[in-house]
Amino acid sequence: MRLPIRLLPFALFLACAPEGTPDGPVGGTIIIGAAADADALVPSLVGSIPGRVASELMFERLADLGPTLDVARDSAFEPRLAQHWAWSSDSLSITFHLDPKARWHDGQRVVAADVRTGFAVIRDTLNGSPLVANVRGIDSISAPDEGTAVVHFSKRDAEQFYAATQVFPLPTHLIGALAPGALRASGFAKAPVGNGRYKFVAWEPRVRLELRAFDDHYRGRARLDRVVLSATPDPRSGLARFWAGETDVWEPLTPPDLPEAARHEQVRVVNGPGYDYGYLAFNFRDPKDPAKPNAIFADRAVRRAITMAVDRDALRRALFDTMALASYGPFTRPQPTSDTTITQIPFDRAAATAVLDSLGWKPGADGIRRRGRTKLAFDLLVPTSSGIRMRAAVLLQEQLKQAGVELTVRSMEFGAFRAEMAAGKFDATIGGWRTTPSPSGVRGSWGSDAISGGAGQNAGHYASADFDDAVQKGLGALNPATRRSGLRRAYQTIVDDAPAIWLYEIRNFAGVHKRLQMPAWRSDAWWLSIPEWTVDPAQKLPRDAAPE
């Protein structure tokens, strides 16, 4: 056979390309190991990472964050169900034009009413959607025609567009008639019909979930045939399954796992910036009587002195080696508004003891400081489920003892830990937050509005009008520079006030089977790129065989 000379480059390209499509091989299976099963499969109801993995492969947003992860600019977003969008002249509404080729997995077209249904599900309080705070700024969604959804906002905000993308369209023709609060228990929630590049196949709760590539997806078929989420309740066993090659992905890896990873030739370690930060939070209220201020931590100078007595670098190295970075405040580095130039309270034990002395906290015969009849001693609440926090508590105990501060570790089962936090029955606690590309979570974690929030929110009762004001101004600013400066002021205020000791920012490490080839690891939502992952044809395993 002869080819015209002009087709030769194309023929050469085809000859060199792997089997399947010109973009790479098609076929294969990925088994994602997880320590817990998905808590739900409908994205509006999901709170856990396994739930997000499953649901965000089955459902798409109107637009998704691109590589810059800048939530304040709509140009940072890539079209998904919406082909394009336009702002109203007053910037109080965005008109999304849906891709006419977008289909639900049952073949029905994705229409604007589905966007409205997705919003209604989040707004229905009986559904308990974790997305409810993210869409607070959305006033309503209208559907002037099948292919056009208009999102209306109550006020202008830098993250308006991001808020709109938090709404996952849901199929009106399947769930539109459900009674309020009925979605979680519905058949749809157990076997959802999505619009993403993978469709639901089977779910054995607490064991496994299987998804398969949706052939008719409007953006093209995913390359891997199957995605399986395999739950192993004991993390040690889950990791053992990963080392044995029974699963293909395990996240996160911890420092002791890295030498082990090197012993398994099929394992590749990937990493990226992390969105988790850890802190020791002080309770501003008396644990026995929340109406009263805390006898120790109500005093800003004492909090600062205790912070000064903690060698955070040594602590971080002991816990994570190089797998964590210094934390500079209630944010993480990948967030566009992060600022590592915030002035920190330095580690200086001599200065800390001098400050405590000057405040009247004098060492007693046992080395522990006292002021009058009050001992400089407190309980540190930690959940037994977190080995890192348990170890951190012991290290902090030792460090603070050297400054004459007595710390008693109070560890308890996670459910009980949350309940104690909600009730404010703690002196101090070691906590952790997973941030998102949006910095707005800082308001829900440390703002005074979140004080009455109970478990998981501003449980330490930190309240600062300056901080609230700076956060409000920063998050509300439309100009990027104003936004950054506002949030910088907020971060500096909270670091100076020392309602917490910012301990570490954890880098994201994961293990992936070497036969899987993938684009760059996106730490905030690595699973979103799974449709682009491929299996090296030379390394295929029996489980990579085409589904029957």
Partner: protein
């Protein structure tokens, strides 16, 4: 008539035990700090008011006595309630997990029982042999090692380091199903079953050995020897049936411990059975799921104990009299 009366009395005792266990579990689980919505809607983004509404919608805001009365009423109608974390009836969750637990426990129980009897018989009949003494010491060692340590050692050794067995779950992904899937199931079953069987087998072996050592010196055994009956026949036909009577009673008594042990074994080997359901239920404060699981487990233990008693009576000539 006497048998019927005994059976009725036994059933009444069983019902009382069941009521006590279920009530205690119900109260303890509800008194434990936390609630199911920490798991279902534990995200910090869910406003407290929403959580309160959810609690009210599921009746968790009612006084404990009201909730208990409601639960008893439903249980008497055969309804075990609604699993908040699984969003389906508890009976359906348990129906899915129970067969898996039986697949693990029944062979483990049979292997542990038969293996324990065989080893114990050897130890008890030939106590002076070096192998008997070695088995005795090994048994003592195994008794002092917790189940989960044995399970983790099996996981890390034969499964992970040697690659002889799969590490977890019941099936290899995409392995054949039905009859063709049985070899795969057996490979997955081997280690958890062995881990569970070994703890039962060790207990049984020690009791069997002790019982047989007594019987070995009994008059009827010495008479049999004097009549020239071969040792093997004396052991199997005369001594062992006699020595089995207390062992069967022990087997019934250790059944709850086996059930308890299976919880940890299931967790380590990711076996999707009742143990996992109950542990996950406790961690998520899924009240109805925990109480339902405990209720079913208690019934299984009561039935197992009753069967062991019946077997003991059948083997013991005094019981038949």
């Amino acid at each position: 008539m006497r048998l019927l009366s005994k059976a009725l009395r036994r059933a009444a005792q069983g019902a009382l035990v069941l009521w006590f266990v279920v009530t205690a579990t119900f109260v303890l689980v509800r008194l434990a700090p936390g609630d199911p919505f920490s798991a279902v809607a534990g995200d910090e983004n869910v406003p407290p008011a929403v959580r309160e509404r959810l609690r009210a919608a599921y009746g968790l805001d009612a006084p404990l006595a009201t909730q208990y009365a409601r639960f008893v009423g439903n249980a008497l109608r055969g309804e075990l309630g609604w699993s908040i974390t699984q969003q389906e009836p508890v009976s359906r969750v348990l129906a899915r997990a129970l067969p898996n637990t039986l697949v693990l426990m029944v062979p483990a129980f049979v292997i542990g029982l038969l293996g324990g009897i065989a080893v114990g018989a050897w130890q008890g009949w030939e106590p002076a042999r070096a192998s008997s003494r070695a088995l005795d010491r090994l048994g003592l060692l195994m008794l002092s090692v917790p189940d989960f340590v044995v399970a983790i050692a099996l996981l890390m050794g034969p499964a992970l380091a040697l690659g002889l067995f799969p590490v977890g779950l019941m099936h290899t992904e995409f392995a054949p199903t039905g009859l063709r899937g049985i070899p795969d199931l057996l490979m997955h079953l081997a280690l958890p079953c062995f881990a569970l069987a070994i703890s039962l087998g060790t207990v049984i072996a020690r009791h069997q050995a002790a019982s047989l050592r007594e019987v070995r010196e009994a008059l009827f055994v010495r008479q049999a020897r004097a009549r020239g009956i071969p040792e093997r026949r004396i052991l199997l036909r005369h001594a062992l049936p006699q020595a089995l009577v207390p062992v069967i009673a022990i087997a019934g008594a250790v059944l709850p411990a086996i059930v308890g042990g299976s919880v940890m074994i299931e967790k380590v080997f990711a076996w999707p059975g009742m143990g996992r359901v109950i542990v996950d239920g406790v961690l998520a404060r899924d009240h109805h799921l925990v109480v339902g699981g405990v209720m079913l487990t208690t019934i299984a233990v009561l039935v197992g104990s009753a069967l062991a008693d019946a077997a003991q009576r059948a083997l013991d000539p005094r019981g038949r009299a």
